[in-house]
């Protein structure tokens, strides 16, 4: 757990350093995520130990988020005027995206369905959402 937290903070710090050095307009944590992904793919030592901390944080991501989300109600006066635009864009927009994306995926993945899909059974286990 401590090892994992250490790795996460360290890579976030790397992200922060890179952003300050280069001035690229990206969130430091996203840069940290890319760096950690690369480190994992390159099988850098110790990086696998990130698992428990990463799993724990991701499992309870709603806890980290909803204190921000309550602002939508508590600051409703700010959004009131655009309620219709918001409602349509979020609800209808999502349904529309779902339809278009599904159709696109059927085209893109559908063609390959017969050929190389015989993969070994997936390693079950710690799928975090």
């Amino acid at each position: 757990m401590i090892d994992g937290l250490l790795i996460l903070l360290l890579f976030q710090f790397f992200g922060e350093v890179i952003i300050r050095l280069t001035g690229i307009p990206l969130p430091a944590s996203v840069v940290g995520m890319v760096l950690l992904l690369l480190a994992l793919l390159l099988e850098a030592p110790f990086t696998q130990r990130v698992a428990p901390a990463a799993g724990g944080l991701i499992k309870h991501i709603s806890l980290l988020i909803f204190p921000l989300g309550v602002g939508i109600v508590l600051q409703w006066h700010r959004y009131e005027e655009y309620a219709l635009a918001l409602g349509v864009a979020v609800v209808l927009g999502t349904i529309l995206s779902m339809i278009v994306v599904t159709l696109m995926l059927k085209k893109l993945l559908g063609g390959k369905h017969r050929e190389p899909t015989s993969k070994p059974a997936g390693r079950g286990g710690d799928h975090a959402d």
Binding site: L5, L41, V70, G71, Q75
Partner: protein, 242 residues
């Protein structure tokens, strides 16, 4: 006696109060979610918000103060975003054989879902800050609240829009898949993860491990692509929305 009561009332203005309220609300929400057999409409994001929204006005703590009280929790969003590298790494292994169409699908899908949300909100007359808050609505929340800073949007609106997107996407997925006659679990999972991020991914696991793995992959890749592209593209888009 009166002085003592005043001192007691002061407690609501400490981080301890905000953190306790937050954690207790979340615990309650987890219980409700479990009892509902993980129905998307009872997602902890929604249910946990309710006690907070009721209690804060009662004790005269405004949203800005609550945000300050709970800074410790918000700080963890940074490490949580870095942590997304882990499931992404795990799932890249399971889908190596279809990696190329998946990358194409991610790029197109990320553009489609952002463009539809931005286009609709703009068309209905929302101002740039509101439109900007919706651009990252299909990506996982920790990344979305970071990215929204680059589009000049509101963090709270982005967080809410992301959550509602996830819930609507997870609810609409079943009927849409039936309507479009989708039987391929990879398509189902990938669509859910792409459009409805973590909530969609949880839904995808109900179709099985394979759908879940594809959803998790889509969630990670879509978040990554959007986070990498949006800060560069947004100034150009904003200019055209005028």
């Amino acid at each position: 006696m009166l002085i003592n009561l005043d001192q007691l009332a002061e407690l609501v203005h400490t981080p301890l109060f905000g953190l306790l309220l937050t954690l207790a609300s979340y615990r309650f929400a987890l219980w409700v979610y479990g009892r509902s057999n993980s129905l998307p409409i009872f997602h902890p994001f929604l249910v946990a918000s309710i006690p907070v929204i009721i209690v804060l006005p009662l004790v005269n703590v405004d949203y800005e103060e609550y945000r300050e009280q709970t800074q410790m929790i918000s700080f963890l969003l940074g490490p949580a975003t870095v942590a997304l590298a882990w499931p992404l790494y795990r799932q890249l292994h399971t889908v190596r054989s279809v990696l190329k169409p998946i990358i194409v699908a991610t790029l197109l899908g990320a553009i489609i879902s952002a463009a539809i949300a931005v286009g609709l909100a703009w068309w209905l007359g929302a101002p740039p800050e509101v439109v900007g808050s919706l651009a990252p609505k299909s990506i996982t929340t920790p990344i979305a609240v970071e990215v929204v800073k680059s589009t000049g949007g509101y963090v709270s609106l982005a967080a809410g829009a992301v959550a509602i997107t996830g819930i609507v996407g997870a609810l609409a997925a079943g009927p849409i898949f039936r309507l479009l006659k989708v039987s391929d679990h990879r398509v189902k999972g990938f669509a859910l993860g792409l459009v409805a991020h973590a909530i969609g991914t949880a839904r995808a696991f109900e179709y099985g491990e394979k759908a879940g793995a594809f959803a998790g992959l889509a969630l990670g890749l879509c978040g990554l692509v959007t986070a990498l592209a949006l800060p560069w593209l947004w100034p150009w888009v904003a200019q055209h929305l005028g």
